[in-house]
């Protein structure tokens, strides 16, 4: 579903290497957690996958399409929610969702069903007619989540999705991630909350100083030591 090969990106004319030769393969139907300390290169990697940043080197294949050579087809397969979703403040929630449905060409019957479903699920039905600028941070997060899922993307990418969500919404989001994968789709998300990654992810990747330093299931990361928590593994790997 997602194949990243030898991906690199640097800032300030090469002075700061944000991502350094990263290679990764995420399979269909899995939830992949992308972990790393602040400034490790998580957001840069995600932004390169969704096409917001251009890589210096390497390739990214999404659902069989190279996102540099065939960006439109690659983007059709992606639903993306950034860490701080700044959406159009002067549209109503309803108008934003309808706009996203038009952009992803979701048929009328399907969009009705899905928009009603997400509004109900995220408790946004009453606020759907209000301008987004009147929403709280969490509500903006939820409207962005709903907008990203309307076209049932094969690859759902989120950057720190739990930040700003209340416990109920956070629980719902985790449920949604599971359901999405059960349908054969893939979820790729970055997080700081190690408990979430531990409980939810099929596989985990840890990035540190731009390099992928570990990848695998939780058991594979433990390397036989069953008592090891993800927190311990994370700290051991990133403090080296």
């Amino acid at each position: 579903m997602l194949r990243i090969s030898n991906l690199s990106k640097s800032y300030n004319r090469g002075a700061v290497k944000a991502v350094d030769g990263l290679s990764l393969h995420v399979k269909p139907g899995e939830i992949f957690g992308f972990l790393g300390p602040n400034g490790a290169g998580k957001t840069t990697t995600i932004k390169m996958i969704v096409g917001l940043l251009n890589p210096d080197e390497g390739s990214i294949i999404v659902n069989g399409y190279d996102n540099q050579k065939n960006p439109i087809e690659a983007k059709k397969s992606i639903g993306y929610v950034p860490d701080n979703p700044v959406v159009y403040d002067n549209l109503t929630g309803m108008e934003y969702l309808n706009f996203m449905a038009d952009i992803y060409q979701v048929p009328v019957t399907l969009r009705k069903e899905r928009i009603n479903y997400f509004l109900e699920m995220f408790d946004l039905t009453d606020a759907a007619g209000d301008l987004i600028k009147s929403y709280s941070h969490g509500m903006k997060q939820k409207i962005a989540l709903a907008g990203a899922l309307l076209h049932n993307p094969a690859l759902w990418i989120m950057d720190e999705p739990m930040v700003g969500l209340d416990p109920k919404s956070s629980h719902l989001l985790k449920e949604l991630m599971r359901q999405h994968c059960q349908k054969g789709n893939t979820v790729f998300f970055s997080t700081h909350i190690l408990e979430v990654a531990e409980r939810l992810c099929d596989r985990i990747g840890i990035i540190h100083r731009g390099k992928l330093i570990a990848v695998g299931t939780l058991d594979e990361l433990r390397r036989g030591e069953q008592s090891e928590t993800l927190e311990n593994i994370f700290l051991e790997l990133t403090e080296q």
């Binding site: 932004k47 969704v50 096409g51 917001l52 940043l53 251009n54 960006p71 439109i72 087809e73 983007k75 059709k76 992606i78 993306y80 950034p82 700044v86 959406v87 159009y88 002067n90 549209l91 309803m94 108008e95 309808n98 706009f99 449905a101 038009d102 952009i103 992803y104 060409q105 979701v106 048929p107 009328v108 969009r111 009705k112 928009i115 009603n116 509004l119 039905t125 009453d126 606020a127 759907a128 007619g129 209000d130 301008l131 009147s134 709280s136």
Partner: protein, 558 residues
Amino acid sequence: MKQFISLLITSLNVNFGISALRYRFTKEKKHLWEPILIGLSIILGGGSIIALYTVFLQGVYKGGQMLNSPELVLLIAILACQFMVFIFGIFYVISAFYFSNDIDLLVPLPLKPYHILASKFIIIMVNEYLVAWPVLLPAIIIYGTGMRPGLMYWLKSLLVLLLTPVIPLVLVSIFVLILMRVVSIRKNRDVLVVLGSLLGLLLGLTINYFAQKLPEGNSQQFIQDMIVARADVIKLIGQRVPPSTWATYGLAMQTLEGWMYFILYLLISLTLFGLLMWLGNLFFYKGLLAGQEVNRGRKKLSAQSINAQLEKASSPVIALFLKEWKLFLRTPVYAMNGLAGMIMVPFLILMPFIARAEEMKALLTQIRQPQFAMQVTLGSAGLVLFASSINIVACTSISREGKTFWISKMIPVPARQQVTAKLLHSMAISGIGVVVTTAVIGIALKLSIIRMFTIFILCLLGNVLLNALNLLIDLLHPRLEWDNPQEAVKQNLNGLFSILFTLAVLALSAILTALLVQLRASEWIIHAALGLTMGFLAIPTLAILYTLAESQYRRLEA
């Protein structure tokens, strides 16, 4: 005190972008030309206005001398300055006290309310100097060089330059402090933007109305005569605004009485400032916090109305076009800036007919003669093209996306289609301008339908070319980093380029017309040639725009 000094230095730094400028001068030398170009255009534009104003003041000075009151020039400048500071101050104060981005950051800090208020006040005052000094300095120099009142005059004038904004600003601030306790403007920020823009528009139209009333010929003589005739009125206004009289006499009279006036002026300024600080300590936070609640309409949508809104699917281009429209109309600063020119120009056209009805009647009868039909049609077309193209719509259409640009980068819609939606939106706005201005001119000049149609077609073609050029400049050089929508349109260099493009196209059209007239081409050949030129120029511009769209959208990172 140490805290306050530190707050003031940091605030001044942020307000005038000193660190940002330093960064630009040392690290981002590539973009160094931007502030230089902005500075030059301000100096050139401002310089010509100041020159005109100085001519006006010289008339005032001479008129005052005839009445044995040469200080009238000082009184008028101080009055004008305090009036301007007062008007601009209302918006400066509300936005600085209650809307600035750093308020949420400063309130939780262990600072006294008057620390924040005083730092904001001083920043507004420094900003107001940019308005106050060009108004005051010419008058001070004219009086000083004319009357030669001595060294003390120049020293006192330095203090007057520094203190003149204080009294009007304190009054505005007190008014705003009380207003914020009563009504929560913070909840209705958009209303304020609309009110401010309308006030600006009204001011522009009023100045234009009085400018139309000025007789042709020696305007300085006219001003001089007017001052002689109306000196009592000016003095009366001065008496109603005592600080302006105190400052005037304080400056002009080098006697003990003069010093008394001057000291009174200083004392009142400082006392009022102290009063503001005291009131600020009592009211500032209360008004600020009262406005913090979020204003939400809570229009509950029924399942039926939700489904009704979802009934129709649109193509991506139409969806993007509709989004552009909604965001443009719902963001007051965009709507006002985009539509102001189109409202202003028809009014400006009609203004001479209202202000100088009799003279215009004779002129109109002349203009409507058949032998001037071609000149009138082409002149009108030029005016319509100018009115319909001097909006900020196309030249800021990518800049306006700001922090939401990530959506444009992420969606599976080719850049060409996204640019098409923006071009359609710009053309729709320009189209409205073309229709409205053509109609106003057509009615005023009694143009035939066929001539109005010719103007319409020529201007529409001209707008295709100009909008494509404006979009291209924004595509190549968008300003995506902004916190306030004002920055996207008002502090965007692309607006300047847009005006230059319009002037270039008008100049090109004028040259082409002059050439064809010399070649004795018939009127309709000239119209056709102009239309074809616009069309032929638009084709390669559109081709370049569409060719560069994909690569530029890819190059711009979000």
